[in-house]
Amino acid sequence: MNDTKMTCPLQTDNADVLLDYCARVLDPERKAMLELHMAHCADCREMAEAQTQIWAAMDLYDAEPISADFDRKLYAKIAERETVPVWERLRAPVREYLQGQPAWKPVLSIAAASAALALVFLVRNDVPAPVAPSAIVIDVREVEQAERALEDIEMLRQLDAPVVTDSSQKDVL
């Protein structure tokens, strides 16, 4: 309490004391201690002077006047949002949450893509399924018909063929 000595704020990572001093929010006791310290510390004195000037100069950075219809626009947005369909309102917080969670975005995309692929497979399996067996049936029938035709041709050829005698065989030879 009665210790009026202060270790140098710049050498002890306590520069916030100097910032508070320049912002005029330092309590009277610490202010007095700091001023006592600055009387002997050129670094702190220099920093405080520069900071005070910057602090004052920053007052020039004033803001713009607010539009007269700010509240009207806000209430219009609120009214609009309050009449949004329930499903949209339920979707919005999820979307907002996901927007704040960048790590989940790729996972969500992959999940969505997987779901879409699964759906495509399901649909494709449903539709061509009845077609495939009938295609096979047609192929089998075609083969059977072809075989039967060949057998018929062979049989006809045998019926039409001339009777071979020993003499004719001799002629051919």
Partner: protein, 192 residues
Amino acid sequence: MMAVATLERDAELMLRVREGDTESFTLLLERHRSPVIHFLYRIVQNQSVAEELAQEVFLRVYRSRANYEPTAKFTTWLFRIASHLALNWIRDRRHERGQESLDQETQDGMVRQVSDRGVSAEHALVRESKFEEIRRAIQGLPEKQKAAVLMHKYEEMEYSQIAAVLECSESAVKSLLFRAYESLRARLAHMA
């Protein structure tokens, strides 16, 4: 003492909003409209964008009324929403426009009027020139340092509250502020 009273008042109003009292929302809006818009303006450097973002801030506050619990200071919550929106807007803008500076934004979007408060034109020009230098110096700071400085200097927030808004430790805020003011002192040394 003042901080506690403010917390109680804002939280009390928000709890009334939760109960369906829209008048209390109007009171909250009146109390915090200007600080939020001014904070956003100094970050995004465009008044119409600042107002758009501020509307989104208050819209989110209103929409969150049903789940509101006074676990933190109301202004901490309010400025956390505002900071997130503003920093996201800046990041999105950067992605859209590359590294195009916000200086261009100001030139495109609006030409700041030199307010004539009974001073001569020459004085006003000097003032405007200084304003421009300070604006550029602040805009040149990294995002978190900028937000910390704006809350510290213009909203007079305590370190603990800035830490809560930026979701970092109090010592990290002190470090951010020290580095930010160090940069500003270096950049604006000629003005001293």
